[in-house]
Protein backbone atom coordinates (compact mmCIF):
# COMPACT_ATOMS: atom_id res chain seq x y z
CA UNK A 1 0.00 0.00 0.00
CA UNK A 2 1.42 3.44 -0.89
CA UNK A 3 2.34 5.69 2.01
CA UNK A 4 -0.19 8.32 0.99
CA UNK A 5 -3.03 5.81 1.05
CA UNK A 6 -1.90 4.45 4.42
CA UNK A 7 -1.86 7.93 5.90
CA UNK A 8 -5.24 8.76 4.44
CA UNK A 9 -6.67 5.69 6.17
CA UNK A 10 -4.96 6.59 9.42
CA UNK A 11 -6.57 9.98 9.32
CA UNK A 12 -9.98 8.50 8.56
CA UNK A 13 -9.58 6.23 11.59
CA UNK A 14 -8.74 9.24 13.72
CA UNK A 15 -11.85 11.06 12.51
CA UNK A 16 -13.84 7.97 13.41
CA UNK A 17 -12.63 8.28 17.00
CA UNK A 18 -9.34 6.40 17.20
CA UNK A 19 -6.78 8.59 18.96
CA UNK A 20 -3.93 6.18 18.28
CA UNK A 21 -4.21 6.79 14.53
CA UNK A 22 -3.40 10.47 14.94
CA UNK A 23 -0.57 9.62 17.35
CA UNK A 24 0.81 7.43 14.57
CA UNK A 25 0.64 10.33 12.13
CA UNK A 26 2.25 12.55 14.76
CA UNK A 27 5.19 10.17 15.09
CA UNK A 28 5.62 10.11 11.33
CA UNK A 29 5.45 13.84 10.70
CA UNK A 30 5.99 15.95 13.79
CA UNK A 31 9.76 16.20 13.54
CA UNK A 32 9.71 16.83 9.78
CA UNK A 33 7.05 19.52 10.05
CA UNK A 34 8.92 21.03 12.97
CA UNK A 35 12.10 21.28 10.88
CA UNK A 36 10.09 22.84 8.07
CA UNK A 37 8.63 25.41 10.49
CA UNK A 38 12.09 25.94 11.93
CA UNK A 39 13.50 26.78 8.52
CA UNK A 40 10.57 29.08 7.84
CA UNK A 41 10.75 30.98 11.09
CA UNK A 42 14.37 30.64 12.23
CA UNK A 43 13.14 30.28 15.81
CA UNK A 44 12.85 27.01 17.70
CA UNK A 45 10.20 28.38 20.07
CA UNK A 46 8.09 29.74 17.28
CA UNK A 47 8.43 26.55 15.26
CA UNK A 48 7.26 24.46 18.20
CA UNK A 49 4.32 26.79 18.81
CA UNK A 50 3.28 26.64 15.18
CA UNK A 51 3.46 22.86 14.92
CA UNK A 52 1.68 22.37 18.24
CA UNK A 53 -1.06 24.73 17.09
CA UNK A 54 -1.31 22.77 13.86
CA UNK A 55 -1.94 19.52 15.78
CA UNK A 56 -4.58 21.22 17.90
CA UNK A 57 -6.39 22.42 14.80
CA UNK A 58 -6.22 18.96 13.32
CA UNK A 59 -7.60 17.46 16.55
CA UNK A 60 -10.57 19.84 16.40
CA UNK A 61 -11.52 18.45 13.00
CA UNK A 62 -12.94 15.34 14.62
CA UNK A 63 -16.06 17.13 15.72
CA UNK A 64 -16.76 18.37 12.22
CA UNK A 65 -18.05 16.67 9.10
CA UNK A 66 -14.88 17.35 7.12
CA UNK A 67 -13.46 14.83 4.65
CA UNK A 68 -9.69 14.83 4.22
CA UNK A 69 -8.15 13.01 1.28
CA UNK A 70 -4.65 14.37 1.74
CA UNK A 71 -3.87 14.68 5.45
CA UNK A 72 -0.17 15.48 4.99
CA UNK A 73 -1.04 18.21 2.53
CA UNK A 74 -3.46 19.53 5.15
CA UNK A 75 -0.78 19.51 7.88
CA UNK A 76 1.65 21.30 5.61
CA UNK A 77 -0.94 23.87 4.58
CA UNK A 78 -1.89 24.64 8.18
CA UNK A 79 1.77 25.10 9.17
CA UNK A 80 2.34 27.37 6.21
CA UNK A 81 -0.78 29.44 6.93
CA UNK A 82 0.16 29.77 10.58
CA UNK A 83 3.57 30.98 9.50
CA UNK A 84 2.01 33.53 7.15
CA UNK A 85 -0.27 34.70 9.96
CA UNK A 86 2.82 35.09 12.07
CA UNK A 87 4.52 37.15 9.37
CA UNK A 88 1.50 39.45 9.21
CA UNK A 89 1.53 39.80 12.98
CA UNK A 90 5.27 40.48 12.90
CA UNK A 91 4.64 43.57 10.85
CA UNK A 92 2.46 44.83 13.67
CA UNK A 93 4.43 43.53 16.64
CA UNK A 94 8.02 43.69 15.44
CA UNK A 95 9.54 44.23 18.84
CA UNK A 96 7.99 41.08 20.29
CA UNK A 97 9.10 38.83 17.45
CA UNK A 98 12.63 40.16 17.32
CA UNK A 99 13.09 39.18 20.92
CA UNK A 100 12.76 35.50 20.02
CA UNK A 101 16.21 33.99 19.67
CA UNK A 102 17.13 32.53 16.32
CA UNK A 103 18.68 29.08 16.18
CA UNK A 104 21.20 30.55 13.77
CA UNK A 105 23.03 31.94 16.74
CA UNK A 106 24.20 28.39 17.40
CA UNK A 107 28.00 28.45 17.74
CA UNK A 108 28.47 25.21 15.81
CA UNK A 109 27.19 26.64 12.51
CA UNK A 110 30.14 26.38 10.14
CA UNK A 111 31.11 28.48 7.15
CA UNK A 112 29.49 26.19 4.59
CA UNK A 113 26.19 26.27 6.46
CA UNK A 114 26.33 30.05 6.64
CA UNK A 115 26.88 30.27 2.89
CA UNK A 116 24.04 27.86 2.15
CA UNK A 117 21.69 29.73 4.46
CA UNK A 118 22.52 33.08 2.87
CA UNK A 119 22.01 31.65 -0.62
CA UNK A 120 18.76 29.90 0.33
CA UNK A 121 17.32 33.23 1.33
CA UNK A 122 17.91 34.50 -2.18
CA UNK A 123 15.94 31.69 -3.78
CA UNK A 124 12.32 32.08 -4.79
CA UNK A 125 9.75 30.89 -2.23
CA UNK A 126 8.80 27.90 -4.39
CA UNK A 127 12.38 26.74 -4.78
CA UNK A 128 13.17 27.27 -1.14
CA UNK A 129 10.08 25.37 -0.04
CA UNK A 130 10.82 22.31 -2.11
CA UNK A 131 14.46 22.26 -1.00
CA UNK A 132 13.58 22.61 2.68
CA UNK A 133 10.97 19.86 2.47
CA UNK A 134 13.31 17.58 0.55
CA UNK A 135 16.79 18.27 1.91
CA UNK A 136 16.03 19.30 5.51
CA UNK A 137 12.74 17.65 6.43
CA UNK A 138 13.48 14.54 4.41
CA UNK A 139 10.22 14.29 2.46
CA UNK A 140 10.44 12.37 -0.79
CA UNK A 141 9.46 14.05 -4.03
CA UNK A 142 6.28 11.96 -4.15
CA UNK A 143 5.28 13.12 -0.69
CA UNK A 144 5.99 16.74 -1.52
CA UNK A 145 3.95 16.34 -4.68
CA UNK A 146 1.02 15.04 -2.60
CA UNK A 147 1.41 17.92 -0.16
CA UNK A 148 1.46 20.59 -2.79
CA UNK A 149 -1.05 18.99 -5.11
CA UNK A 150 1.46 18.61 -7.97
CA UNK A 151 2.72 15.66 -9.93
CA UNK A 152 5.90 13.97 -8.66
CA UNK A 153 7.59 14.76 -11.96
CA UNK A 154 6.84 18.48 -11.59
CA UNK A 155 8.30 18.44 -8.10
CA UNK A 156 11.41 16.60 -9.27
CA UNK A 157 11.98 19.24 -11.93
CA UNK A 158 11.33 22.04 -9.49
CA UNK A 159 13.77 20.50 -7.03
CA UNK A 160 16.43 20.10 -9.71
CA UNK A 161 16.04 23.71 -10.81
CA UNK A 162 16.15 24.86 -7.21
CA UNK A 163 19.38 22.97 -6.55
CA UNK A 164 20.94 24.37 -9.67
CA UNK A 165 19.92 27.88 -8.68
CA UNK A 166 21.36 27.33 -5.22
CA UNK A 167 24.61 26.03 -6.67
CA UNK A 168 24.93 29.04 -8.94
CA UNK A 169 24.34 31.37 -6.05
CA UNK A 170 27.04 29.58 -4.07
CA UNK A 171 29.48 29.83 -7.00
CA UNK A 172 28.71 33.53 -7.33
CA UNK A 173 29.23 34.06 -3.63
CA UNK A 174 32.53 32.17 -3.65
CA UNK A 175 33.73 34.24 -6.58
CA UNK A 176 32.73 37.41 -4.81
CA UNK A 177 34.66 36.30 -1.74
CA UNK A 178 37.74 35.51 -3.85
CA UNK A 179 37.53 38.87 -5.58
CA UNK A 180 37.24 40.66 -2.27
CA UNK A 181 40.22 38.84 -0.80
CA UNK A 182 42.36 39.50 -3.90
CA UNK A 183 41.39 43.18 -3.82
CA UNK A 184 42.31 43.41 -0.16
CA UNK A 185 45.64 41.70 -0.88
CA UNK A 186 46.37 44.17 -3.66
CA UNK A 187 45.45 47.14 -1.51
CA UNK A 188 47.70 45.71 1.23
CA UNK A 189 50.67 45.85 -1.07
Amino acid sequence: MPVEELERRLFARFLAGENGALVDLYDRHHLRLYVYALKLTGSATLAEDIVQEMWERVARLRGTSVTVDNPIGLFHRIVKNLFLNHVKARRRFTAFVESSRSYWEHPAIDENAEIVRACMEKLTAEHREVLVLNLYSGYRHEEIAAMLGKSPEAIRKRSSRAQRALRELIVAMRREEQNQSSRSRESGR
Binding site: G17, N19, L22, V23, Y26, D27, H30, L31, Y34, V35, L38, A44, E48, V51, Q52, W55, E56, A59, R60, R62, G63, Y103, H106, A108, I109, D110, N112, A113, E114, I115, V116, R117, L135, Y136, Q163, R164, L166, R167, E168, I170, V171, R174, R175
Partner: protein
Protein backbone atom coordinates in the same frame (compact mmCIF):
# COMPACT_ATOMS: atom_id res chain seq x y z
CA UNK B 1 30.02 20.91 -22.54
CA UNK B 2 26.90 22.78 -21.48
CA UNK B 3 25.33 22.87 -18.00
CA UNK B 4 22.70 20.30 -18.83
CA UNK B 5 25.34 17.71 -19.64
CA UNK B 6 27.68 18.77 -16.91
CA UNK B 7 25.34 18.75 -13.93
CA UNK B 8 24.45 15.05 -13.98
CA UNK B 9 28.11 14.21 -14.31
CA UNK B 10 29.06 16.49 -11.42
CA UNK B 11 26.24 15.06 -9.35
CA UNK B 12 27.29 11.50 -10.05
CA UNK B 13 30.86 12.35 -9.21
CA UNK B 14 29.95 13.99 -5.86
CA UNK B 15 27.47 11.37 -4.80
CA UNK B 16 30.04 8.64 -5.27
CA UNK B 17 27.92 6.91 -7.87
CA UNK B 18 30.84 6.72 -10.28
CA UNK B 19 33.14 3.78 -10.34
CA UNK B 20 36.83 4.46 -9.76
CA UNK B 21 37.57 4.27 -13.47
CA UNK B 22 34.73 6.70 -14.22
CA UNK B 23 36.05 9.07 -11.56
CA UNK B 24 39.53 8.98 -13.00
CA UNK B 25 38.18 9.64 -16.45
CA UNK B 26 36.02 12.45 -15.20
CA UNK B 27 38.89 14.16 -13.38
CA UNK B 28 41.27 13.70 -16.29
CA UNK B 29 38.80 15.21 -18.64
CA UNK B 30 37.23 18.01 -16.55
CA UNK B 31 39.60 18.49 -13.59
CA UNK B 32 41.35 21.40 -15.22
CA UNK B 33 38.14 23.18 -16.14
CA UNK B 34 37.72 26.04 -13.67
CA UNK B 35 33.99 26.12 -14.37
CA UNK B 36 33.57 22.49 -13.42
CA UNK B 37 35.88 22.85 -10.47
CA UNK B 38 33.76 25.76 -9.22
CA UNK B 39 30.61 23.71 -9.65
CA UNK B 40 32.08 20.76 -7.82
CA UNK B 41 33.15 23.09 -5.07
CA UNK B 42 29.65 24.65 -4.90
CA UNK B 43 28.04 21.22 -4.75
CA UNK B 44 30.36 20.23 -1.92
CA UNK B 45 29.59 23.46 -0.09
CA UNK B 46 25.88 22.85 -0.46
CA UNK B 47 25.96 19.28 0.78
CA UNK B 48 28.37 19.94 3.62
CA UNK B 49 26.48 23.07 4.64
CA UNK B 50 23.12 21.30 4.76
CA UNK B 51 24.58 18.37 6.67
CA UNK B 52 26.29 20.72 9.12
CA UNK B 53 23.10 22.63 9.69
CA UNK B 54 21.01 19.51 10.12
CA UNK B 55 23.50 18.44 12.77
CA UNK B 56 22.81 21.48 14.92
CA UNK B 57 19.10 21.92 14.32
CA UNK B 58 17.29 22.09 17.65
CA UNK B 59 14.97 19.20 18.39
CA UNK B 60 11.38 19.65 19.56
CA UNK B 61 11.07 19.87 23.35
CA UNK B 62 11.00 16.52 25.14
CA UNK B 63 7.46 16.93 26.45
CA UNK B 64 5.89 17.75 23.07
CA UNK B 65 4.54 14.28 22.45
CA UNK B 66 3.07 13.95 25.95
CA UNK B 67 1.39 17.33 25.63
CA UNK B 68 0.00 16.31 22.27
CA UNK B 69 -1.43 13.07 23.65
CA UNK B 70 -2.92 14.88 26.65
CA UNK B 71 -4.51 17.43 24.34
CA UNK B 72 -5.89 14.65 22.18
CA UNK B 73 -7.41 12.92 25.22
CA UNK B 74 -9.05 16.12 26.37
CA UNK B 75 -10.44 16.68 22.90
CA UNK B 76 -11.88 13.21 22.64
CA UNK B 77 -13.62 13.58 26.01
CA UNK B 78 -15.08 17.03 25.60
CA UNK B 79 -15.28 17.48 21.85
CA UNK B 80 -13.35 20.72 22.20
CA UNK B 81 -10.01 21.74 23.61
CA UNK B 82 -10.34 23.21 27.08
CA UNK B 83 -7.52 25.43 28.29
CA UNK B 84 -4.78 23.67 30.19
CA UNK B 85 -5.31 23.94 33.95
CA UNK B 86 -3.00 26.42 35.59
CA UNK B 87 -1.04 25.03 38.47
CA UNK B 88 -2.21 26.71 41.70
CA UNK B 89 -4.62 28.94 39.83
CA UNK B 90 -7.68 28.15 41.94
CA UNK B 91 -5.73 28.44 45.19
CA UNK B 92 -4.43 31.82 44.14
CA UNK B 93 -7.95 32.97 43.29
CA UNK B 94 -9.31 31.75 46.65
CA UNK B 95 -6.57 33.55 48.56
CA UNK B 96 -7.26 36.73 46.63
CA UNK B 97 -10.98 36.55 47.41
CA UNK B 98 -10.26 35.99 51.12
CA UNK B 99 -7.82 38.89 51.19
CA UNK B 100 -10.31 41.14 49.43
CA UNK B 101 -13.10 40.18 51.86
CA UNK B 102 -10.82 40.80 54.83
CA UNK B 103 -9.92 44.20 53.49
CA UNK B 104 -13.56 45.13 52.94
CA UNK B 105 -14.59 44.01 56.45
CA UNK B 106 -11.69 45.92 58.02
CA UNK B 107 -12.60 49.01 56.07
CA UNK B 108 -16.25 48.73 57.07
CA UNK B 109 -15.37 48.36 60.78
CA UNK B 110 -13.05 51.35 60.60
CA UNK B 111 -15.76 53.47 58.97
CA UNK B 112 -18.35 52.38 61.52
CA UNK B 113 -16.03 53.22 64.38
CA UNK B 114 -15.11 56.61 63.05
CA UNK B 115 -18.71 57.66 62.31
CA UNK B 116 -20.47 56.00 65.26
CA UNK B 117 -23.28 57.95 67.02
CA UNK B 118 -21.69 57.74 70.49
CA UNK B 119 -18.50 59.45 69.48
CA UNK B 120 -18.23 62.81 71.14
CA UNK B 121 -16.10 65.21 69.19
CA UNK B 122 -13.72 67.29 71.21
CA UNK B 123 -14.41 70.94 70.86
CA UNK B 124 -11.58 73.31 70.36
CA UNK B 125 -12.80 75.40 73.30
CA UNK B 126 -12.56 72.56 75.80
CA UNK B 127 -10.10 73.09 78.61
CA UNK B 128 -6.61 71.86 78.10
CA UNK B 129 -6.84 69.57 81.09
CA UNK B 130 -9.94 67.96 79.76
CA UNK B 131 -8.33 67.48 76.42
CA UNK B 132 -5.25 65.94 77.98
CA UNK B 133 -7.36 63.40 79.83
CA UNK B 134 -7.39 59.94 78.41
CA UNK B 135 -9.98 59.18 75.87
CA UNK B 136 -13.29 58.03 77.27
CA UNK B 137 -13.36 54.39 77.91
CA UNK B 138 -14.68 51.94 75.58
CA UNK B 139 -17.04 49.62 77.29
CA UNK B 140 -18.71 46.49 76.28
CA UNK B 141 -22.30 47.12 75.62
CA UNK B 142 -24.90 44.65 74.57
CA UNK B 143 -26.21 45.36 71.17
CA UNK B 144 -29.66 44.65 72.46
CA UNK B 145 -30.94 43.96 75.92
CA UNK B 146 -32.00 40.47 75.06
CA UNK B 147 -28.86 39.63 73.20
CA UNK B 148 -26.62 37.04 74.84
CA UNK B 149 -23.69 38.59 76.63
CA UNK B 150 -21.17 37.16 74.18
CA UNK B 151 -22.59 39.15 71.29
CA UNK B 152 -21.23 42.57 71.95
CA UNK B 153 -19.97 45.48 70.04
CA UNK B 154 -17.49 48.00 71.30
CA UNK B 155 -18.70 51.57 71.30
CA UNK B 156 -17.13 54.63 72.86
CA UNK B 157 -18.88 56.02 75.91
CA UNK B 158 -18.19 59.05 77.95
CA UNK B 159 -19.41 58.19 81.42
CA UNK B 160 -20.09 54.59 81.99
CA UNK B 161 -19.04 51.70 84.08
CA UNK B 162 -19.04 48.08 83.38
CA UNK B 163 -19.45 45.61 86.14
CA UNK B 164 -19.32 41.93 86.11
CA UNK B 165 -20.94 39.82 88.75
CA UNK B 166 -18.61 37.87 90.98
CA UNK B 167 -19.84 34.57 92.13
CA UNK B 168 -22.85 34.47 89.94
CA UNK B 169 -23.54 31.43 87.94
CA UNK B 170 -21.85 33.09 85.02
CA UNK B 171 -21.56 35.72 82.39
CA UNK B 172 -23.78 38.43 83.75
CA UNK B 173 -22.78 41.81 82.59
CA UNK B 174 -24.35 45.03 83.68
CA UNK B 175 -23.75 48.16 81.76
CA UNK B 176 -24.69 51.51 83.14
CA UNK B 177 -24.33 55.07 82.14
CA UNK B 178 -24.52 57.66 84.81
CA UNK B 179 -25.87 60.48 82.75
CA UNK B 180 -28.61 58.83 80.80
CA UNK B 181 -31.30 56.26 80.79
CA UNK B 182 -29.09 53.43 79.73
CA UNK B 183 -30.72 50.08 80.12
CA UNK B 184 -28.96 47.28 81.88
CA UNK B 185 -28.68 44.04 80.05
CA UNK B 186 -28.59 41.23 82.56
CA UNK B 187 -28.75 37.55 82.13
CA UNK B 188 -31.18 36.40 84.80
CA UNK B 189 -28.99 33.79 86.41
CA UNK B 190 -27.89 35.62 89.51
CA UNK B 191 -29.88 34.34 92.46
CA UNK B 192 -28.67 36.32 95.39
CA UNK B 193 -30.38 39.46 96.50
CA UNK B 194 -27.28 41.49 96.44
CA UNK B 195 -24.29 40.78 94.31
CA UNK B 196 -20.77 41.87 94.88
CA UNK B 197 -19.29 42.93 91.65
CA UNK B 198 -15.78 43.72 90.62
CA UNK B 199 -15.04 46.10 87.80
CA UNK B 200 -14.16 44.81 84.41
CA UNK B 201 -10.64 46.12 84.46
CA UNK B 202 -9.85 45.24 80.93
CA UNK B 203 -12.69 47.36 79.67
CA UNK B 204 -11.71 50.46 81.53
CA UNK B 205 -9.00 52.99 81.20
CA UNK B 206 -6.42 53.60 83.91
CA UNK B 207 -8.29 56.52 85.44
CA UNK B 208 -11.46 54.53 85.52
CA UNK B 209 -9.72 51.59 87.09
CA UNK B 210 -8.70 53.71 90.03
CA UNK B 211 -12.27 54.78 90.64
CA UNK B 212 -13.55 51.31 90.20
CA UNK B 213 -11.35 49.76 92.80
CA UNK B 214 -14.09 50.37 95.38
CA UNK B 215 -16.56 47.52 95.64
CA UNK B 216 -19.89 48.30 94.16
CA UNK B 217 -23.13 47.00 95.37
CA UNK B 218 -25.96 46.91 92.97
CA UNK B 219 -29.54 45.92 93.31
CA UNK B 220 -30.62 42.43 92.40
CA UNK B 221 -30.56 42.15 88.71
CA UNK B 222 -33.73 42.84 86.90
CA UNK B 223 -34.19 42.22 83.28
CA UNK B 224 -34.24 45.43 81.32
CA UNK B 225 -34.45 47.38 84.54
CA UNK B 226 -33.93 51.06 84.28
CA UNK B 227 -30.95 52.14 86.22
CA UNK B 228 -31.73 55.03 88.47
CA UNK B 229 -29.75 58.17 87.97
CA UNK B 230 -27.18 58.85 90.58
Amino acid sequence: MNDRNRDPLVERFLSGAMSSSEESAFLARHGGDPEIRARIEAERTMRNGIEAEKGVLPMPPAGSRDRFIAMLDRTSKTGSIPPEPESGGSLRRTLLVIAALGFIVTLAVMVMRSTGPDRVPQSASAPAAARSEPRPDTVLKSARADTPARMRIIVPATKSTTTRTAGSSGGTTATGRSGGDTSIAVTPRATSDSVEVAPDAAAMSTSRQEKAKLPVTIQPPTINAKKPDR
